[in-house]
Amino acid sequence: MARIRKPIPGVDPKLLIKDAGKLLPDPTRRLFLRGGASLGALTFLTGCDIVDGLSAEKALRKISEFNDGAQALLFSAAKLAPTYPQSAITRPFPFNAYYGPDDAPEVDGKDYALEVGGLVDNKKKWTLDELYALPEVSQITRHICVEGWSAIGSWQGARLSDFLQRVGADTRAKYVWFQCAEGYSNTIDMPTALHPQTQMTFKFDNQILPRAYGYPMKIRMPTKLGFKNPKYVVAMHVTNTDLGGYWENQGYNWFSGL
């Protein structure tokens, strides 16, 4: 077995940046079944020849959609993510994206105006000062990455459900879609948007959100995997159409609830 670096808990930011690369598909392995030996083993075991990687991929994606439904059923608005004391915060908190921290988007706070659209009464844009004036909530919760590692962080901002109410959103709609400065996007289910711990985050550990963590705004959802928590959010739409998302479109599970 190949030897590699030590596991996460100590958290070396340099290593974590490298880590993010593993989220990316290896172009030579885009088809899930091109697994060499393991494909052979599977063919042998099932007694049928799964040469058609594409149809297997399709079947697996169907099951993933079934899993979205199962997770939505399991989701309870009353179940809160466990919270932790200040001393439990992971320092330094890992940076994780599909680009290095130097390539992270740089959003100019002075020009920033959050776009609010879709099924809402009030489509006015929100400046940072207006957003900062919203009632503040705080949480120290565990961020869990789809890769398996986790880290505890401290986030402050406005409760998303309060904000949706304030802008007159139709909360019977199915989804909320987020657009990010670098082109990343993400659609979430309305029950998660309305969860009491889902937060429009402006601060990390009581400091204005640093660029690496998503300045000026990220959406913090402790009930979802890390990649479902968009950073550098510039627009938010309430919608009945699933507009997908960056990772979801490539095969990661859509609901990705915890």
Binding site: K22, D26, F32, I63, G251, Y252
Partner: protein
């Protein structure tokens, strides 16, 4: 309840060693386990707990998202099939009859006999003490791997379970150790099945 036992006594020359439900659930489980293990190794590699990764060429899924798709598809097969096996095993009395009692002294004696190549396999319908221990052990590991898997898949919705497992990070180790136990079992188990081919025939044809 004792229907299976009756058949075994009533027709000694046509003894059914493994009723059809055992054979079906056994082979479905073997397939589901192998898919779970190979895709699980790929998932492990994305954030290793120890100072090694599994050679990517022997994993399933190609990359993290692919492995997760396999893992979260095969988990249904594993869990539903496992529940069917446990329900039948308890309801028919097979577990009580075949796996118990397990006496430490017999385990020691049978281990010694097995290593000396002197263990009798004349009567496949009776498990020796080593078999009993291995089978009960792997069933416990199977239950544990499903529970720890649920604990890391749903650490908020099923947070009570995650707490029982010692928290999210500890549950990852529990999940890994249960995998290692099952893989260890599998190596010994398959080797023994090949050494005693008629046991393999019985698991395929029933007798």
């Amino acid at each position: 309840m004792t229907a299976m036992a009756d058949i075994e006594v009533a027709a000694p020359d046509k003894i059914v060693i493994h009723p059809v439900w055992v054979r079906i659930t056994h082979w479905v489980n073997a397939l589901a386990m192998i898919v779970m293990i190979l895709s699980g190794w790929q998932i492990y590699n994305a954030s290793p707990l120890f100072n090694f990764i599994f050679p990517p060429s022997i994993t399933l899924g190609g990359w993290l998202a692919g492995a997760l798709l396999w893992h979260f598809a095969a988990m249904w097969l594993l869990a539903v099939n496992g529940l069917v096996y446990l329900a039948f095993g308890l309801a028919t009395g097979r577990f009580a009859r075949k796996f118990f009692p397990i006496r430490p002294r017999e385990v020691l004696a049978d281990t010694r006999a097995a290593l000396a190549g002197k263990l009798s396999h004349d009567d496949l319908s009776v498990y020796n003490a080593v078999q009993k221990l291995l089978y009960v052990g792997v069933i416990v590991a199977g239950i544990l791997i499903v529970l720890s898997g649920l604990a890391i898949w749903k650490p908020i919705q099923l947070q009570e379970l995650t707490t029982v497992m010692g928290g999210y990070d500890a549950a990852r180790y529990v999940h890994f150790v249960a995998m290692a136990v099952i893989v260890g079992f599998l190596v010994v188990h398959v080797a023994l099945a090949l050494i005693v081919p008629k046991s393999l025939r019985a698991m395929l044809r029933g007798r």
